[in-house]
Symmetry: C2
Subunit: 512 residues, 2 copies
């Protein structure tokens, strides 16, 4: 039953990814329509409409009986001035939930089903719990590889697609989970210095102590408009920007906002998420890094191989040149964990300092070498040597400085945080295990990535001999409370194993 | 990082089954803790604590930087006075989500897992989307019957359990889906008149045009305290109350608040929901009614039999005497659909009026007869005759009047609503199909159950001959807009099929 009695009021409440509308309990429409709190309603004015979850208000100071309040998100999305008259109606449940229910019942979905679902999600017709139902129903082994292809295509089609107007647009992506693994910030300047186009966009940390966007932000602005991005890339052949400003595969962001708090993380959804984002970003050639290790996301070689096949199957059908590298994920890469500490490592490698972390340099060269071999003019097997020459000659540093200048250089301050504590070895021996998850957690509790200088700086890596009382790593924090909790966590479990000998060595590597 | 700087403020916003907390963006704790909107936080004061979803507020008139706002639900649950000082912390994700993730990965869960999950849900540690994940992961064929037993027991143990201090406490339950099927309001007075204890609690309609509580409310109060309920039952041997006041299997209500909007409805969850509620209500003997028909919840006999086995398996192990009746679910029962129209049908049957709907009378007698045979003193096969004698003699009516008086009689007004429209047959023939779902939808759109007199009154049932232009049913409404939409829906599809002959007859019956 449409109606047009309500005035829009902007309510200064931030409800993140969920639109909320507020109706006074004494509002005539609330009573007549048989709404109840948490009902989904549709607010319309002229050609604009927005879907929102209903909260019922008993305080006319917040919303009066002749008003409808919209949370910040809903108000922004609706984009109609305060005071304008609107109609309110029950929102029909999204039609595509039928397909989700069919999936729950064990049916196989087709391309149209996935397109319908992603369209409804992008139009915010799905509530959080409907998205959770979709994610669980399509999670784990519930999607075959054809369905995964349909899902990836639907996610890609859900948003805009960048076009760089070149035949070869290179990109790389690591499936994540390894602290300190900031290879993109080395690979991009090396590959761009070779002359290949590599317009890299990255995410900020969500559950990790730093994302590439957080670390790059120590050196330069990363929040760039799509137009600015194009100018920079035209000039420098590469960039290191935050990917949040473009509307690429928007359904992915919405699904991630449910997936993360649920802690569900299926391989299929990861493949669809990565490939749709990269295709939307305009990549034609993509290198995927899958680290394998006992505390990495992928723990067994057979799992890494199955994942590789999935990437290849979908990538080939969506017409992207895709290669997968399986790498050593047994321990953090480099020394620093946290935005400033990681940026320091990166600059040490680019400046060819003798104290630069060797593993970070080696991994970046191997990845850059593989990408350089996407170049038809490069002979197979020569990529690594080309990458090394670019780095050793200082051309990678020059390119990085060019990118930093183009994006907007920041005043760099590598001075360490004043609150710090060293974590000491409790016996003599050899480091035989470093727990990626525990070390990342300590860095996060210490304040990373919010506090740029917070984190963990590793002094010892796998295979290193240590003596009792020798520092294994140092925790940095900015706030005393964070510092206390991080130290307490490290006291409970410092994430290191020290044994008399190296013990059985975990060997995940094929490519290295 | 605990802290104690925030004063509680009650925010007059009704967020239904979800606790919401409001923090001002300039609040020191918000910044330091790294909270973000939609984070789950834990608010503590002395021994009290409450979990809530965080909304961030930019308007100090709603919540000031030194305050924490609690929505009505959260404030009530927290039960601490406004202005008291509290600490705020990140809420850990519920530990039992690990079990849910194991279930998603295909593992079998044990009794402890289900107890942990239901405890966390009752303590509101689960968000809506976590509940959705649990429901989808345990939905459809994902629970074996042992797991279903564990789930039922865990749901039962999640709340209080009534004790009637008698060896035989009878109850009945219909799995639903058939409009007009208000047999409880006949079965209870018949069985109570026989002298058996039958303290029946029912739900209100959620997705149907009327629940037993809505229909009984036309005649008497149904919102009774547990103490009042005991007094009535001690006096009358039966009652017809709304079940919402007791804290029986509270986890069920929480799960239903997610299940309904998602439209997911697995057999396993239905069995667990029904049996946990009935056991918590103190039933020792239970009759389950499973209607079967092409537009009923259960559409095939084999499905009804599988469901019967599930009920029997779980019921036997939870020590309840359980019988299942599979009944005719091809069409609505009785004539009226909607609270007032259904109450009118009930009173016609109780008063033995010649125009009383025969099918409603017959079905009620059969169900009541089976329940009466739970009485060890009744010879097998004699229940139906006893029930019929009680009804025909007027003892059932007298008992119903006693129950109505005890619960608190209401002024009954069976006068029809002034807005009505007859739906006419478009050709001569025989009624061969009545769509339960469509007829229920028309009644709901017309305003039932909110508008007590709204609904549908059926003149023709299966097998009845009709002539072109003859009324098949009448729609009643209270509001012109509802009336318009209901008529439009009936024009699109009136829910009736008329054929030249009876055609192939759908025969679901075994017991009738």
């Amino acid at each position: 039953m449409p109606n047009d009695n309500l005035k829009i009021r902007r309510i200064a409440i931030d409800t993140y990814h969920e639109n909320v509308a507020y109706l006074n309990r004494d509002c005539e429409i609330y009573r007549v329509e048989g709404f109840q709190a948490l009902s989904k309603i549709e607010v319309c004015a002229n050609s604009s409409r927005v879907l929102a979850v209903l909260n019922v208000v008993d305080d006319p100071a917040i919303v009066a009986p002749d008003e409808i309040g919209l949370s910040e998100q809903a108000f922004r999305q609706f984009n109609i001035a305060e005071g304008a008259l609107v109609t309110v109606d029950h929102a029909e449940p999204p039609a595509s939930m039928d397909a989700v229910r069919r999936k729950i019942e064990g049916e196989r979905l087709n391309q149209d089903d996935f397109h319908d679902i992603t369209r409804d999600i992008v139009e915010t017709r799905y509530s959080k719990m409907e998205m959770a139902a979709f994610l669980v129903a399509t999670g784990q082994n519930n999607l075959d590889r054809d369905e995964l292809l349909y899902l990836t295509r639907a996610m890609l089609d859900s948003g805009e697609r960048m076009n760089w107007h070149e035949a070869l647009v290179a990109d790389k992506h690591c499936i994540g989970g390894i602290p300190g693994n900031r290879t993109s910030m080395l690979v991009v300047p090396i590959v761009a210095a070779h002359g290949m186009l590599i317009p890299k966009t990255s995410s900020r940390a969500i559950t990790s102590p730093a994302g590439t966007a957080d670390t790059m932000e120590i050196l330069a602005d990363v929040n760039l408009s799509p137009e600015h991005l194009h100018t920079i890339v035209a000039q420098e052949r590469g960039c290191l920007a935050w990917g949040g400003t473009a509307k690429l595969a928007p359904v992915d962001d919405l699904l991630i906002s449910v997936e993360r708090p649920l802690g569900i993380d299926s391989q299929g959804q990861m493949v669809a998420s990565i490939l749709s984002k990269k295709l939307a970003a305009g990549a034609t050639h993509l290198l995927i890094d899958i680290p394998v290790g006992p505390t990495a996301k992928v723990r067994h070689m057979r799992q890494a191989l199955a994942l590789r096949k999935l990437f290849e199957f979908v990538g080939d059908r969506l017409d992207i040149h895709l290669e997968v590298m399986i790498t050593d994920g047994r321990q953090p890469i480099g020394r620093g964990i946290g935005p400033t500490l990681e940026a320091r490592d990166i600059m040490q490698v680019l400046e060819n300092r003798p104290d630069a972390p060797f593993d970070l340099r080696q991994k970046a060269l191997q990845l850059a070498g593989r990408i350089i071999e996407f170049d038809p003019d490069v002979r197979g097997g020569q990529g690594y040597a080309i990458a090394r020459d670019i780095l050793d000659s200082g051309r990678a540093l020059a390119k990085m400085n060019g990118i930093i200048e183009a994006q907007g250089a920041r005043v760099i301050d590598f001075a360490p945080s004043t609150l710090y504590q060293e974590i000491l070895a409790d016996k003599d021996g050899i480091v035989t295990h470093i727990d990626n998850l525990q070390v990342a957690k300590i860095a996060r509790i210490a304040g990373a990535p919010m506090d740029k200088k917070a984190g963990v700086d590793l002094f010892k890596k796998l295979g290193d001999p240590v003596q009792q009382g020798e520092p294994m790593y140092r925790i940095y924090a900015q706030f005393p409370a964070d510092f206390k909790f991080a130290k307490k966590l490290a006291e409970q479990n410092n994430g290191y194993n020290i044994d008399d000998n190296e013990g059985p060595v975990f060997k995940p590597m094929v490519d290295l």
